[in-house]
């Protein structure tokens, strides 16, 4: 099992940097939703520890497949934080090299994608996180979601299959919500992946609710990690609010995958901080004390407290980091807002030539 980077503090600082960036990203879009500049928003607030830490454990050349609450993983996968926010976190910190290419440009296109702009990755044809970004020269492989839950699990396993077939040692990382574990594709993909020993890691972001449906109406096992046994693979539950814990679990899953031993199922326990989407009232169904419990375990609060407790950063350092992240997001989103809308007359082919 790979250990946390020797400079544990610096690694946590790096994870925190991306988590904060992801948080500011989401807060910005939540605000835009509230002011009517955006018609829908699914928030990643509360998922950052899991998604950032998991993405820290993979490398360039590995594939990432995300859903609607995975901005943390996407930002970690796309961006060199040293390039876009120089000096924000120590250069020495990373256990993982950033992929190459122009991070700022990618970030701007991501904002365009969210806003349906022409320069978004799908040129307005697809919504928010429903797109791919594959830059082979930089080892960047990111395949976005379709709406149908569960459907991307086999596809993710398929990228792992391609790696195995090509004899390289890359791995595939895929996120899903606990609701999607009820789909047939969850089962079919994990079973095949295990039989074929595919280098595949499935991370369940268990935020205890699927739209309005609590886990008690979604499954009846003790924990979803228990499903691992039925596939003959490790099933590990982890505190999804603790990036270090997630990183540790992920790292051993990655090692297992790279060494040809097959998939791992990780269940990261998270809080439900927002409604299903910002446009519905589903949060009303979450009892107040349950909500309070989640708020008190906000992963950003926790990581910041830890950084302060360990004297890695001061409260004012944190404020500065927050401000720099928020400003960068603000600038980029504003820039994206001023970019052109897609051209309705531009033809788009249905078949590849």
């Amino acid at each position: 099992m790979r250990e946390l980077d020797a400079s544990v503090h610096d690694s946590l600082r790096e994870m925190h940097g991306y988590m904060r960036l992801a948080r500011e990203w989401d807060l910005r879009f939540e605000k835009m939703f509230r002011t009517g500049a955006l018609s829908k928003w699914y928030s990643s607030v509360g998922n950052e520890a899991t998604t950032v830490a998991a993405a820290c454990a993979i490398e360039a050349g590995d594939s990432l497949l995300t859903l609607h609450r995975d901005s943390g993983a996407i930002l970690r996968h796309y961006l060199d934080i040293h390039e876009i926010l120089p000096g924000l976190v120590p250069q020495t910190s990373s256990g993982r090299k950033s992929v190459g290419g122009d991070s700022r440009q990618r970030f701007l296109r991501l904002a365009c994608q969210m806003l349906g702009r022409k320069h978004g990755f799908s040129a307005g044809h697809e919504r928010s996180y429903h797109y791919n970004l594959i830059e082979e020269q930089h080892g960047l492989i990111h395949i976005g979601m379709i709406s149908h839950l569960g459907s991307m699990i086999p596809v993710a396993a398929g990228t792992a299959f391609a790696f195995q077939q090509q004899g390289n040692h890359q791995v595939a990382l895929n996120f899903i919500g606990e609701g999607a574990t009820s789909t047939g594709d969850f089962h079919e993909a994990l079973n095949i992946a295990s039989v074929w020993k595919l280098p595949f890691i499935l991370v369940i972001e268990n935020n205890r609710w699927a739209f309005s449906t609590p886990t008690s109406q979604q499954y009846a096992c003790q924990q979803l990690a228990d499903r691992g046994q039925g596939y003959g693979i490790p099933g590990v539950q982890v505190d999804g609010n603790d990036p270090e814990a997630v990183f540790t679990v992920m790292s051993s899953a990655v090692d297992r995958a790279r060494s040809g031993e097959g998939p791992t199922l990780i269940e990261a326990m998270l809080g439900r901080h927002r409604g299903h989407s910002e446009a519905d009232d589903s949060l009303d169904l979450v009892p107040a004390d349950e909500q309070d419990g989640y708020s008190s375990q906000d992963p950003l609060d926790l990581v910041e407290k830890k950084l302060v407790d360990r004297s890695t950063l001061s409260v004012s350092d944190l404020a500065e980091i927050r401000n720099r992240c928020a400003s960068l997001v603000m600038v980029l989103v504003d820039e994206a807002m001023s970019m052109p809308q897609p051209d309705p007359d531009l033809p788009r082919r249905i078949h590849a030539d």
Partner: protein, 333 residues
């Protein structure tokens, strides 16, 4: 909250007509059970079943896990033994995940075994809301090529109400396509006293005209009506036939109308190739070809998934303007 007290012949929203039909049929028949994601406490993604949990209890209002295939299969088994399940797909698009259960188990059961499967699947479908490729599709044609199902596509509150109750009473699996765009935009009279207990071939001649017969369903019927009034001002008289039921198909009314007008257009929001417009066109060309003074025209979505951006989507969905201009040309042919 849907109008609890909507009285006979009152005007109500399309969405409330659906809600009322479900509620009234559940009150009338204790064997009716609802299944779907988030339909219980939350009242469904569109709030159609709001209040149902309180009134009918959690045995009859079943939140399902996210498992369309399992849900349809369970409904099929239950329907065979005296329960009448009505499934709400959160969006019509998701039925693809339960496709096999529907086309191979439910649809073929009666023909194979002569054992009826009285079940309804409600499918909120269609575009116009900028909801993208997976929340906007019009997929009725897959099921019209699947013997054993019935397919309903109401355009008006009255049909929505009446046909949902009929669908629940019908002893066959019925796909009930409800158009999301109409939920809060269409409001018209419903008659709660006429509740047939079968889905049968039917059509509505909404407007008589001598120049062109136009056939459509769902949202497109409303755009057709809009186009028809514009064209009427120009002296072109459109006969508008709405099809609230696509299977079984009322081809008779269509053929009679075409015989009178000699020109025909079929308008649908579904993609063109293999859409149900092709079937209607083919039947006309088999049975009424000599009455035609012009080629059979289809006005449809192009062959692509629905784009997300509203501007992109708007160019794909047949607009009243596009309908007008294509019909003007048809008139001249």
């Amino acid at each position: 909250m849907p109008t609890e007290s909507s009285t006979d012949q009152s005007e109500i929203l399309y969405i409330d007509a659906i809600s009322d039909a479900l509620r009234d049929e559940m009150r009338a028949d204790p064997s009716v059970v609802l299944m779907g994601q988030d339909i219980a406490d939350h009242g469904g993604a569109f709030k159609i079943t709001r209040g149902f949990l309180d009134e009918f209890g959690d045995q009859r209002i079943r939140n399902t896990p996210i498992a369309e295939s399992g849900t349809i299969g369970i409904a099929t088994g239950a329907a065979m033994l005296g329960t009448k399940p009505v499934i709400e797909m959160q969006f019509a698009d998701f039925i693809s995940c339960g496709f096999n259960q529907l086309v191979n188990v439910a649809a073929k059961m009666f023909w194979r075994t002569e054992h009826p499967v009285p079940m309804v699947i409600r499918l909120p479908g269609g575009g116009g809301m900028g909801a993208g490729a997976f929340h906007s599709q019009n997929i009725e044609a897959w099921f019209l090529h699947t013997p054993g199902l019935k397919v309903v596509t109401p355009s008006f509150s009255g049909d929505a109400y009446r046909l949902l109750r009929a669908a629940i009473r019908d002893p066959n699996p019925v796909l009930y396509f409800e158009h999301k765009f109409l939920y809060r935009r269409e409001r018209s009279a419903i008659d709660k006293n006429t509740t047939p207990d079968r889905i049968e071939a039917e059509s509505n001649v909404l407007r008589s005209g001598t120049d062109i017969t136009v056939i459509s369903w769902g949202w497109m019927t409303h755009r057709t009506l809009e186009a028809a009034s514009t064209l009427a001002e120009e002296g072109i008289e459109i006969e508008v036939i709405d099809l609230p039921v696509l299977c079984p198909l009322d081809i008779t009314t269509i053929l009679e109308s075409v015989e009178r007008t000699s020109r025909v257009a079929i308008i649908h929001e579904a993609t063109s190739t293999g859409g149900f417009g092709a079937e209607i066109a083919a039947q006309i060309c088999q049975d009424a070809i000599w009455t035609l003074d012009a080629p059979v025209l289809r006005i449809t979505y192009p062959d692509s998934p629905p784009p997300y951006h509203k501007d992109l989507e708007a160019t794909r969905i047949p607009s009243a303007e596009r309908i007008c201009s294509e019909l003007r040309q048809l008139k001249q042919q």
